[in-house]
């Protein structure tokens, strides 16, 4: 057994433990020097990325991996705390890592003038650790614990600018709704434990029936995780908190939101898949409800974004609309996957949805970074006040254009590839769904044309005479995201073939997920 094997074997806990250790060491390191602390946080995230890459190379070739805490082998798998990593989990971990790395690079100079930065870096690393934990865990109670940690730490991050009343208000709304939601998740965990005496997802998926209590738990889980992801009409906290958090961490909070989305995928397609295969009617029901809510999400998100005047709040509503596309694919998958004739449609939809997760993170994240850059340069967030910024901030304008084209799904950007998969699959289910989706996509373009016209073009106002281009670390952060967007846009086939398809196959291959845990007994 060489060193590489040992590292791969131990990387699932280390992926979560390294940022956690970094989070707790940051206040101690911060006593030395500010620069040392920033470098320390970056190094910790990079080590995490190294482990993620190692684990990804293994999981994509050899299938799911299990790590049991505190035990050498897999005895008593029902009560042990374990991490189970399959291709979907590691895909989400890669997304989270990219977002966290960009956020830390970006905040180097963005947050320079704030004080209390020790706590800031601690919280960012905590959010990253808990998000990764949600994605890698194979235990439903552990999932709840990480959900709560991410909720608490991202709430504290949203309220980081304490001198602004609005950010406190947004944080309070966020913590009220998400702590209530998390308590309902705990209730669902209790229901599972009462019925099956087990807590890990694989064991539960093996034995689950579709009893009345299971239906209750399904509704609780789907609604709560949908709320945490921003499903209309439970989305109101999302533009508030995205709009008021410091823009450098909004991109991390987007990652935490996508982890809830991962939870919906995991619960619907792994935990309940055995139950769904027997009873088709209920499966279609919850699938249809999710499709309805997703269409509502897309429409309302777009309509509300059109009338916003605050730049960051506008992007928050756009993020809501983008989440709708992913929920659409979940619904289409639930409706079609049990039907042998339609299974290809469902697979295409799932590919589109999972590809859209990473695209959504990158595109919306890039737009938030641009909004942050404008705020940094002008101290202005209202679109009514901005004008003619393209003259002084050339690089930022180019990044904004890339983000605009990507979000609204204009070829050849990455947003188009995933949206094309979604349109194609939903058209085969029902043409009206795809028509609404395309219409909303056009309106997204219209929204950002408005932003581009009013903020970047227009006459040069005397107030913005001395606006300068933002500093290098922010440009590097935006540049990294833009490069990934362009590469994903030019070669979508590579991404689908090497990242997305294994994730979809792992999600649909439920027997493998179960047998990795239970087969070893």
């Amino acid at each position: 057994m060489n060193l590489l094997d040992v590292l791969i074997q131990h990387s699932p806990p280390l992926i979560v433990a390294v940022p956690l250790l970094g989070a707790f060491l940051t206040p101690l390191v911060g006593r030395i020097n500010e620069k040392v602390r920033n470098i320390f946080a970056l190094v910790m995230i990079s080590i995490t990325g190294f482990f993620i890459a190692l684990l990804a190379s293994d999981v994509f070739t050899n299938g799911p991996r299990v790590y049991v805490f505190g035990a050498q082998n897999l005895t008593l798998p029902v009560v042990r705390v374990l991490f189970e990593v399959d291709s979907l989990s590691i895909f989400m971990a890669i997304v989270t890592f990219i977002l966290a790395f960009v956020a830390l690079v970006y905040s180097w100079s963005f947050m320079k003038e704030n004080d209390g930065l020790d706590k800031y870096y601690t919280l960012v690393l905590l959010v990253v650790a808990s998000t990764l934990g949600m994605e890698l865990t194979g235990d439903i109670f552990n999932f709840f614990v990480f959900l709560e940690i991410s909720c608490i730490s991202s709430c504290a991050l949203i309220a980081f600018w304490v001198h602004k009343g609005e950010s406190l208000e947004a944080a309070f709304k966020y913590i009220v709704i998400s702590s209530i939601g998390a308590l309902f998740v705990l209730f669902a965990v209790g229901i599972f434990y009462a019925q099956y005496n087990a807590l890990n997802i694989a064991t539960l998926a093996n034995v689950i029936q579709f009893t009345f209590l299971d239906k209750v738990a399904l509704v609780l889980l789907v609604v709560v995780l949908g709320m945490k992801a921003g499903l209309v009409p439970m989305h109101m906290w999302l533009p508030d908190s995205y709009g008021e958090a410091p823009p450098s961490v909004t991109i991390v909070i987007i990652g935490a939101t996508q982890a809830s989305l991962y939870g919906v995928f995991r619960m619907c397609f792994t935990l309940y898949s055995g139950a769904f295969q027997n009873i088709t009617i209920s499966e279609s029901t919850i699938g249809l409800i999710i499709i309805m809510l997703a269409l509502l999400t897309i429409l309302i998100g777009v309509l509300m974004a059109l009338i916003q005047t605050d730049f960051r709040r506008l992007i928050g509503f756009v993020a809501v609309a983008e989440i709708g596309y992913i929920f659409l694919t979940i619904g289409v998958g639930l409706v079609t996957l049990h039907d042998p004739d339609m299974i290809e449609v469902g697979k295409t939809a799932m590919q589109g949805g999972i590809f859209h997760i990473i695209n959504d993170c990158l595109d919306v994240g890039l737009l938030f970074l641009v909004a942050g850059a404008i705020y940094y340069a002008t101290r202005e967030t209202s679109l009514n006040e901005m004008s003619g910024l393209a003259r002084n901030m050339r690089c930022t304008t180019i990044f904004f254009l890339i983000g605009l084209l990507a979000v609204s799904g204009i070829p050849p950007m990455n947003g188009f590839a995933s949206k094309l998969l979604i349109y194609q699959s939903t058209y085969q289910l029902n043409p009206i769904i795809s028509i609404i989706a395309i219409l909303a996509s056009i309106m997204l373009l219209a929204i950002f044309v408005k932003v581009f016209y009013s903020a970047f073009l227009g006459p040069k106002i005397s107030k913005f005479e001395n606006v300068k281009e933002v500093s290098k670390s922010m440009l590097i952060g935006m540049g990294v995201v833009s490069c990934i967007i362009i590469i994903f846009g030019l070669f979508p086939n590579i991404v689908i073939h090497y990242l997305v398809e294994p994730a979809v196959n792992a999600l649909l291959n439920n027997a493998q997920y179960i047998s990795v845990v239970l087969g070893g007994v």
Binding site: H10, P13, A17, L21, A23, P27, F69, G70, Q72
Partner: protein, 163 residues
């Protein structure tokens, strides 16, 4: 918060050591009886908060720096996760209980005894790494809870000073 009457101060002076000892007992016996780091830490922290309430916040700000508490809190967390990492390096698996049955010197075991079955006097020297983790959690909870209340007292006393 302002200072309370002399009766309250005297009584809290008397009770404070008892509360602290009880809390430390709960922390130290966490691996044997119901309780543990969080519960014991909460008891000790509530003792400290009682002193804060009796003597007023101005008295506390002179003596206790919030930054020092934060450092203790980080220390507790680092200790906890450090023990988990030690499990990886010594025991070969994350969170492994590597201390059980581990002979350090001649015949000395640190928390490594195998407990006797039956209703006997409790042997604290059991449990492997669990007591160590309990101490870490206890430290973190004492510092964290007290820091929370201290900061809240500070924030609410700001308004009093304005008047």
């Amino acid at each position: 918060m302002s200072e309370m009457s002399k009766i309250v101060r005297t009584i809290s002076n008397v009770i404070f050591p008892l509360i602290t000892i009880f809390g430390l007992y709960v922390i130290a016996h966490g691996h044997l009886t119901p309780g543990g780091g969080f519960q014991g830490g909460a008891v000790v922290a509530s003792g400290c908060i009682m002193l804060l309430a009796a003597y007023g916040s101005a008295w506390a700000f002179e003596r206790i720096k919030e930054k020092r508490l934060t450092a203790f809190e980080s220390l507790g967390a680092v200790w906890f996760i450090g023990v988990a990492f030690l499990g990886l390096f010594v025991g070969g698996i994350f969170f492994a209980n590597f201390l059980v049955g581990l002979k350090l010197f001649d015949n000395f075991t640190l928390f490594g005894n195998i407990p006797v079955v039956g209703s006997t006097l409790a042997d604290i020297n059991t449990g492997g790494v669990l007591p160590l983790m309990n101490f870490a959690v206890g430290l973190k909870v004492i510092a964290g809870l007290f820091a929370v209340v201290l900061v809240m007292a500070y924030a609410s006393s700001l308004k009093e000073w304005k008047k």
